[in-house]
């Protein structure tokens, strides 16, 4: 826009600056200010109230020595990796199926995407009921005559996180499908014509031509899913409340419980800082990859 070339004086373009005040305040006070505040206070001995009593890495040492935190990290790693891979695979396969000039495409798409409109609380509670060991799927299958059938993941400390995964995928794969479908529709039709002329089977075209062409869509989707995974909280709370025992705890719940229930702010700050670090580890390579190159080129 031409406006960007104007000489910058504080009062020029004043209305725009006034209009941007909420954004500037949010960016500086909330996103930068509050984040820095939490990181700084994670090095203090704060308990019920924040205190400027710096103790170095003590909170972090304690954090990584706490069983519940280790379980939380392990759970989010399992949930995260499975969720990333399965979301991408299921989302892409569904999108590819819908892209075959099929009938009722809109109906199918509506059905796959509606869970995304529902909250994690609703999602968690429904799947808690379906997977209920006493009344849910296990009972139904046993009723069919398979007396030994067991499907009690919600009561099983080793499998409970996979029960959460089933619910999480149900809620989120529709979004991935929608993003992938948009990506597939953006592929030039000539690509398909060319590969057909060459007699390449369509699964090979997908695997070696279409998917590499859709790299930006995949990367963006990956970042969106990953950023969502780190924040997983409501789903766990509704479906399992972290149980049985501490078997399905996650970092976000650790933060909430220590900050607002146990009155141990320092632990909450340290744990949330670890979450931030995880997001940065995901985000920074993406930004460099996606935007670093572009800036150099232009």
């Amino acid at each position: 826009m031409a406006q960007s070339q104007r000489p910058s004086s504080l009062f020029r373009n004043l209305s725009a600056k006034i209009a941007a005040i909420p954004m500037i305040l949010t960016a500086l006070v909330i996103f930068v200010g509050c984040t820095v505040w939490t990181v700084v206070y994670s090095f203090t001995k704060s308990r019920m109230l924040p205190k400027e009593d710096f103790v170095g890495l003590m909170q972090y040492e304690r954090l990584w020595a706490t069983k519940r935190w280790l379980v939380s990290v392990e759970n989010i790693a399992i949930y995260g990796i499975c969720s990333l891979i399965l979301s991408l695979v299921i989302g892409f396969v569904l999108a590819a199926l819908l892209d075959q000039k099929i009938r009722f495409e809109n109906t199918f798409r509506t059905i796959f995407l509606y869970p995304y409109a529902l909250s994690f609380i609703v999602t968690g509670l429904v799947w808690q009921w379906i997977l209920n060991p006493t009344f849910g799927i296990q009972k139904v299958v046993r009723g069919w005559g398979f007396e030994d059938f067991t499907f009690d993941w919600l009561a099983n400390t080793d499998y409970v996180i996979y029960a959460v995964l089933i619910a999480g995928l149900w809620q989120g794969t529709g979004l991935v499908m929608a993003l992938m479908l948009a990506g597939l529709r953006g592929i030039d039709e000539d690509i398909w014509k060319a590969s057909r002329v060459d007699g390449i089977p369509s699964w090979k075209t997908y695997l070696f031509i279409v998917i590499p062409m859709m790299r930006p869509v995949f990367v963006t989707t990956l970042v969106i899913i990953a950023a969502g995974i780190v924040k997983v909280y409501d789903l766990i709370l509704a479906q399992t409340s972290g149980g049985p025992g501490i078997a399905s705890e996650v970092p976000a719940k650790y933060v909430y419980d220590y900050m607002f229930r146990a009155g141990n702010l320092g632990q909450g700050f340290a744990a949330s800082t670890m979450m931030l670090v995880t997001v940065l580890i995901i985000l920074i390579p993406w930004v460099i990859l996606e935007y670093g190159g572009k800036k150099n080129a232009s």
């Binding site: 209009a19 996103f31 075959q100 976000a252 909430y256 997001v279």
Partner: protein
């Protein structure tokens, strides 16, 4: 991929295959129906369970349709289910959610639309820097900012109040909404903008007389995005709204996961349905705009 290698005609945009019962089609529709089963099942189970009596639930199976249809669970879920604190059902939660939703949606969209307009058409020195920080903020886990915001709201006298939760929703909705509006206004032809400038229209004049009338679709997209997002929120509501303003999601969780008394699964499922109805209605009415909203929010980032 579930394709038959022999059918080299396979391609997404070709003419419709002549044989509608080809092996390829059976595989495609088979897989799609399998997926439909997975996605529909919970909705079906929710509805079916909410219409049964407790004895039928204990004896029967979750997938069976109700023998004696009863709306008792819905009535109880709405008006008299217990949360452990009180036995008023979901009704107060619903009212709270509406009270949170309306001002949050209106204020956040009003602020973000003007802001997006300023960023698209009236850039000033540093505007892009702030915008970049704002976008990064969308990826920061809320957990990192939760406590300092509690302190800020307390200082402002807004903690545990309706005003507090509305402010928090406005703040956290800002990155995505601003992005949405900025991209939309940036796509408006520049000639239009320049012509209005020549005619002497200023910042607000152009916004109100030119930009607003032609941007109804993007406002609808923003409305859908915010309505479902705020209605479905749990974490912010439980922390910042205060006990008497708890939104419906919080109350739902308190009802279902309350440890007191006998578990009434039919009431729980009716309550879950009631909480899900608002976003579902929004979703089914809005159709393609919903997809456009999430795609615009997600991909253009």
């Amino acid at each position: 991929m579930p394709h038959n290698p022999e059918t080299t005609m396979t391609e997404p945009r070709g003419p419709k295959p002549s044989k509608s019962f080809s092996r390829r089609n059976i595989i495609i529709y088979g897989l799609l129906l399998l997926a439909v089963f997975y996605y529909i099942l919970p909705l079906y189970v929710m509805i079916v369970t909410s219409l049964k009596g407790m004895p039928e639930i204990r004896l029967g199976n979750v997938f069976a349709p109700p023998v004696d249809i009863t709306f008792e669970p819905w009535v109880k879920a709405w008006g008299s289910a217990c949360t452990g604190l009180a036995c008023d059902g979901l009704q107060p939660g619903f009212i709270n959610s509406v009270k949170i939703l309306i001002p949050s949606v209106v204020i956040s969209i009003a602020i973000a639309s003007v802001n997006g307009y300023a960023l698209a058409n009236w850039r000033f020195k540093g505007s892009e820097v702030f915008f970049t920080i704002l976008l990064f903020g969308a990826f920061i886990p809320y957990q990192v900012m939760l406590y300092p915001i509690v302190i800020l709201l307390r200082e402002l006298g807004l903690f545990a109040s309706l005003g507090g939760i509305v402010l928090v929703h406005t703040i956290f909705g800002m990155p995505i909404l601003t992005l949405l509006f900025r991209n939309y206004f940036a796509s408006v032809p520049e000639e239009l903008f320049k012509a209005a400038r020549v005619d002497g229209a200023g910042f607000w004049g152009i916004f109100l007389k030119i930009m607003l009338p032609m941007s109804l679709p993007i406002f609808v997209v923003a409305l859908i995005l915010q309505t479902t997002g705020i209605w479905n929120d749990f974490l912010l509501g439980v922390i910042y709204a205060g006990t008497k303003n708890f939104p419906m999601t919080v109350q739902l969780n308190n009802i279902v996961n309350s440890t007191q008394g006998v578990k009434e699964y039919n009431v729980n499922m009716a309550a879950t349905m009631l909480t899900g109805i608002v976003p579902l209605v929004v979703y089914f009415i809005s159709g393609k705009l919903f997809v456009r909203g999430i795609a615009a929010g997600a991909v253009k980032g």
